[in-house]
Amino acid sequence: MKNPFAEEPKPTSAWLWQVITGVGLVILLGLHFIANHFVAKGGLRDFKEVVAYLRNPVILFLEVLFLLCVTTHALLGVRAILLDFGLSEPAERRMDQILKTVGFLTVGYGLAVTWVVIR
């Protein structure tokens, strides 16, 4: 009988995106931590400081990129874990649709909060 565990896993585009966003996160999360928790006085910015911080276009770009990377990486990670539980192909397609929807909602919500804060 063929042993399914003996097969070499093939790299997929999902895996590649997880690596790309993961490497991006190491850099962006490092910057996020330094800017928001180690440079900021008292380890956290108060309301006025958060607004001023996010109104800086460079910071805004980096924080939006961070939101995109972290959401993509997180949901691809959830997908990888769920795939380990042996879904059929139709269930896998449904899962992909659900995760895409969750991803769009997450990014949309993050952008909406940011917009309300900086406008």
Partner: protein, 129 residues
């Protein structure tokens, strides 16, 4: 029609099987466990950021609470998860591209040592802020 492939389920159940587990399997399980924790934290963080929508008083009250030693202790746990997941993830990515495959175990030990040292330094910094 069944939605489960039982051959794959047995692969998932191996997460919980600690018998004859090798270092690589521990590293794999650790990455997934920290990953699940960080996904939960991501959504908690978004909920906390919603306080910005309630204005200055709500956010500044949260900042006061977040500076308490209990919350700072939770930050240390969070940072441990980030360090282990991030550095171990880089190791997995490297080996996925065929880099350092022969030194996987040594790399994992190095990841854990670097994580521990960084966490120690960061913990001191967090409690001194």
């Amino acid at each position: 029609m069944s939605t489960l492939d039982y051959r794959k389920v047995s692969r998932a159940s191996r997460w919980l099987d600690v018998r004859r587990r090798k270092l690589g399997m521990w590293a794999y399980a650790l990455n997934r466990i920290t990953g699940i924790g960080l996904v939960v934290y991501l959504y908690l963080h978004l909920v906390v950021l919603s306080l910005l929508l309630r204005g200055q008083a709500a956010w500044d009250f949260f900042v006061t609470v977040a500076r308490s030693p209990y919350v700072l202790a939770l930050d240390v746990i969070l940072l441990a998860g980030i360090l282990i997941h991030g550095l171990n993830g880089l190791r997995i990515a490297m080996t996925g591209f065929g880099i350092g495959v022969g030194a996987q175990k040594a790399l994992f030990v190095a990841v854990m040592v670097v994580s521990a040292v960084t966490l120690w330094v960061a913990t001191i910094k967090i409690f001194r802020i």
